[in-house]
Every structure is written in C-alpha cells, then in structure tokens.
C-alpha cells in the first residue's frame, strides 16, 4: 500500500508541475500544429488523390501516438533536472522501492502526455480533420500503453545522460529521426533496406503502428496504412517496455549511487 501511495504522490507532483508551467502547456501544442496543420494539410491537398485514404487523418492518428510516446519520454528529462537541483536526493533516500519511484515518474508523465492529447483533439476539431470519434475512443487504453512505453524509453535514454544540458542536446537527435522512421507523417510501406532496418529498430515505429492498426481496423485503408497487426505491435512493445524499464532503472539507480 505504501508503494502505491508513493507512486501516486510522485505522479501527482508531475501533474501539478505541468499546470504551474503554462509555457510548457503551450509548447506541447506547437509541434502537433505544424505536423497536422501545416504538413498534413499541404500533403493532403497535393497528394491525396492516389492514396486511397485521407492523409490528414493518417497524420493525425500518427501524431497522437508520437505525442504520447515523446511527451512521456521527454518528461523523464525532469529526472535529470531533479538530479541537478538535488531534489532527487529527497526521493531516492525515501524507503520506497526504486522501481516504484521510476514507475510513479512514468505514470506522472503519462498523465501529462494525456493532457497534451486533449489539446491535440481540440486542434483536430479546429482544423476539421475528418475523424471517427468512436474509433478514437477505442484508442484510449492503447494510449496508456504507448505513453508507458515512451516513459520506459525515456528512462533508458536518461540513465545514460549526465546533466540537463547533455540531455537537452542529445534528446532531439534520438527522437527527431524517429518521426520519419516511424512514419508519423510519411507512409513507410516501402523503404530502401537501410531505412527499413532503422525503421524496424525505432521504438516509436511500433507505437505509431499500434495506433493506426487499432484506428483503421476493419476499414479499407487498413492494408495501406498499417504495417504490422495490433498483436505484433503489442508484443514488440511489451518486450521493449520490460527491457527499457528494467535496464534503464538499474542504470539510473547505479549512476545515483556512484555519483
């Protein structure tokens, strides 16, 4: 029970911090706006004839997955920030399992990511993206999975980074190429071998494809938009989550203890 209370209070702290940080709230909407509003809209107007599905919807669903994955992953940066201003001492000296601490952190950043998704949905309405709301609703539990997955990925990356400066410099290089390799706003049904390999080892690929496989299930566009099925994506995510989470936590705790 103590561990659950600890997880909840650590997660609670992240949500409180988000609502006190207005600039972060606004910034979390700028990227989705560029992807959907600018990129998606222009490609839809120029290419859509031959695709056989609505490109704007395709990008929108991709951006939802990408946001949940990335927001949680980058939220974990705040662990590095905590380390820098010595707050992590307070948490790591408490009689709480290290796994609970990290899990609480991921849960908190997941809630933060969902707050961002609400903003994107509003954006979708404003930009008049053709959306099937019933299908979007079925994405909800999968959204949780994608966010937790992103958090585990974030832990693994952060555990290997020293200070916040390094984190801020390195993180974009790790996350940005994945936008393209995962096909957030570009179809990746056909790729040259090198890109195919990179695409398949990008964790975000499975997050984005999971979302599309659920959203497009049973529709004519399924074969054109989805690479793997839901089950394959779930299995891949499950395995990677366990790996990232355990290795990341062990590395992070070790770097805390040997500091």
């Amino acid at each position: 029970m103590k561990e659950i209370n600890a997880i909840l209070t650590i997660a609670h702290r992240d949500l409180v911090k988000l609502f006190r940080d207005r600039t972060r709230l606004i910034f979390s909407l700028i990227f989705p706006f560029i992807f959907i509003g600018v990129l998606g809209s222009s490609l839809q107007s120029n290419l859509s004839g031959e695709l056989g599905y609505n490109f704007l919807t395709f990008v929108f669903v991709g951006v939802l997955a990408q946001t949940l994955f990335q927001s949680t992953a980058s939220g974990i940066i705040s662990l590095v920030e905590d380390r820098e201003n010595d707050f992590s001492q307070e948490i790591f000296i408490s009689p709480v399992s290290r796994y609970s601490i990290i899990f609480g952190k991921i849960l908190g950043e997941t809630l933060v990511a969902f707050a961002g998704v609400v903003g994107i949905l509003v954006l979708g309405v404003v930009l008049q993206v053709p959306l099937d709301w019933a299908r979007l609703l079925t994405l909800l539990p999968f959204g949780l999975i994608v966010a937790l997955f992103g958090g585990a990925f974030g832990i693994l990356v952060m555990a290997n980074l020293g200070g916040q400066r390094t984190a801020n410099q390195v993180f974009p290089f790790i996350i940005f190429p994945q936008f393209f390799l995962a096909g957030v706003f570009n179809p990746i049904q056909n790729l040259p071998p090198v890109l195919l390999f990179l695409s398949r080892i990008s964790p975000m690929t499975y997050a984005v494809d999971l979302f599309r496989s659920v959203y497009y299930t049973g529709t004519a566009a399924f074969d054109k938009t989805v690479i793997f099925g839901t089950l394959v994506n779930m299995a891949a995510i499950f395995v990677m989550f366990l790996l990232f989470f355990s290795i990341g936590t062990i590395l992070f705790v070790r770097s805390e203890r040997n500091r």
Partner: protein
C-alpha cells in the same frame, strides 16, 4: 576512507569534523545508504545499510548539504510528499482531503518554526533560513530515530543560524533523537556529546569536546601590569610557568588561576582566563597533520 570505525549510542549528539575533502560527506552518504561501501559493516538503528536499506531509510532523517526541496511546490506540498513517501499518511490529492492528524502535525511544526503563514506559498519565495527550517520539519514528520545534518547551516546568516540551532536544540531535547552532525562552524559542535575529527579519510581523534581540547591545548590566562618588571620578577620568584615578555601567558595546566593570582601582589591591569575552544583544538590538530605531512 580508511579504517573508519565508530559507534554512536541512541540519543547521542555526535559530530564529525574535518577539512573539505576529508571524507565527511562520503561517510554520511554511506551511513544513509546513498553510497555503496567498498568494505566493512555499517548498521543504523540495528539495520544493515545494504541488506536492509529500506529499513534504514525509514528510520533516518537527513538534512543534505544542498537543499533538496522542490521549488515548484508549496512548503506544505513538499512536506506532504515526504509524509506519503514514508508511509506516514495515505495519498490524497489535496491538502483539504488529508487526514486531520496530518494537518495538525504540519501546523504545529510550522508554528514552532514561525512559518505557518507561508506554509501554502511556493517555496521560491522562501529565504535560505526558512528553506532549511522547512527541510527540518519535513525530515521530522516520519519521526526518525537518527537525524543526519550535513553542514546544515552553511550559507546562512548568523541570525538564521542562531534561530535554526535554537530550534534544533529544542528538537533534540524533546524527541530524544540521535543526531549526527558535520559542520565547519566548530562552535556548533561544542555541545556535542562526542566529536570525531577526520582527515584524509581517517579518524584522527575522537572523544568529548573537552577531552579533545585537553589533549591538544591547555587552559591558560593572560595577565599584565603597569609595573611589568615587577610582575615578571614576582612570577619568576614564585616559579609560575609563563611565556611572553608582557602581556604574560600563564599556563593553567598545573596550577589553578585562583592560586596563582592569590599569590601575586603586583597590581594587575589585565586578567583574562582563556578556555580553549574546539575550533582552536581543531586547528591545532590540522596544523600538526600538515607538519607531519611535510
């Protein structure tokens, strides 16, 4: 660290002193389970720091050298986070929903420290002294058996230091806690039950502040007179152990001040009895170490 071994009894006020880089923070880190030891055994409140780290953590409170508060949260939110992490109270999303016992405890502590008005304010607005006090409130909320203070007053102005110590003394009296202190302000360690001085990762000396002072320095008094030559003659004739050409520094190692003065007829213009401070003793030891090193 090399062969550092000591035992601190329950309720004792123990102070670890030493120059920068001597190993004080390393010692505290090992004792508080944040750093792995390379060899040896460490037990806190009866628990091994490695095999029972969680039990050790439950039983200790720490004031770190650098403040470890979350500046985005209010003072009360910082305390609440701590209380929940230590399992003292269950998680509730807001202060209002927290159990009455929690509210009562927080308010009592805040009042004691005189920060009850700012308890719901973001701690960004707090002064260094207030932050320190808040950390102490926070560390006491789970009623630790051992309180570690790692240079708790560094960076505080004299008034804040004084008031922080007034409060700490109060706490030590009421809670019967074991206190483990490291500090560079040696007068803070004068009241310690025992003191250990550490240099280069080794304990050089350990004992009560008085025994350490007696080992390193002796009590002395300084006297002077308008008639210096008269006083000097008198001191010589009465075989008083002294040094200097005036004012005279008289050792009180073998004779008590009262006996010496009673026997002097010359009218004194200066009389100053000096008990060595822990700081003087400490500096003496460090200087000896430097000499040995050379």
């Amino acid at each position: 660290m090399d062969g550092v071994s000591f035992e601190v009894k329950g309720g004792e006020f123990f102070s670890l002193l030493g120059p920068n880089g001597a190993g004080k923070t390393t010692t505290i880190s090992v004792l508080t389970t944040t750093l792995n030891k390379t060899s040896g055994d460490v037990k806190i409140a009866g628990y091994d720091t490695e095999t029972h780290a969680s039990d050790v953590r439950q039983n200790i409170g720490i004031i770190f050298q650098n403040p470890s508060l979350d500046i985005n949260l209010s003072a009360e939110e910082n305390v609440r986070l701590h209380a929940i992490l230590y399992g003292v109270f269950p998680y509730r999303p807001t202060y209002t929903l927290m159990p009455e016992a929690y509210k009562k405890q927080v308010m009592e502590l805040a009042e004691l420290l005189g920060i009850s008005e700012s308890i719901h304010k973001p701690i960004k607005t707090f002064s260094g002294g207030m932050k320190r006090k808040l950390e102490i409130i926070r560390s006491l909320i789970h009623k630790p058996k051992v309180l570690f203070l790692d240079e708790p007053t560094s960076g505080l102005d004299p008034a804040s230091r004084r008031s922080l110590w007034d409060y700490l003394e109060e706490v030590m009296k009421n809670e019967n806690m074991t206190v483990f202190l490291t500090t560079h302000y040696l007068e803070e360690a004068e009241d310690a039950d025992r003191v250990a001085i550490i240099t280069n990762g080794k304990i050089e000396m350990m004992g009560t502040p008085n025994s350490i002072k007696n080992k390193l320095l002796e009590d002395h008094m300084t006297i002077d007179a308008k008639n210096r030559s008269g006083l000097k003659k008198e001191l010589d004739s009465k075989k008083v152990n002294y040094s200097g050409v005036g004012p005279f520094k008289v050792s009180l190692k073998k004779q008590r001040a009262q006996e010496i003065i009673k026997n002097l007829d010359t009218k004194l213009s200066l009389l100053d009895i000096q008990r060595p401070t822990l700081e003087e003793a400490y500096l003496q030891l460090i200087q000896q170490k430097i000499h040995e090193g050379n």
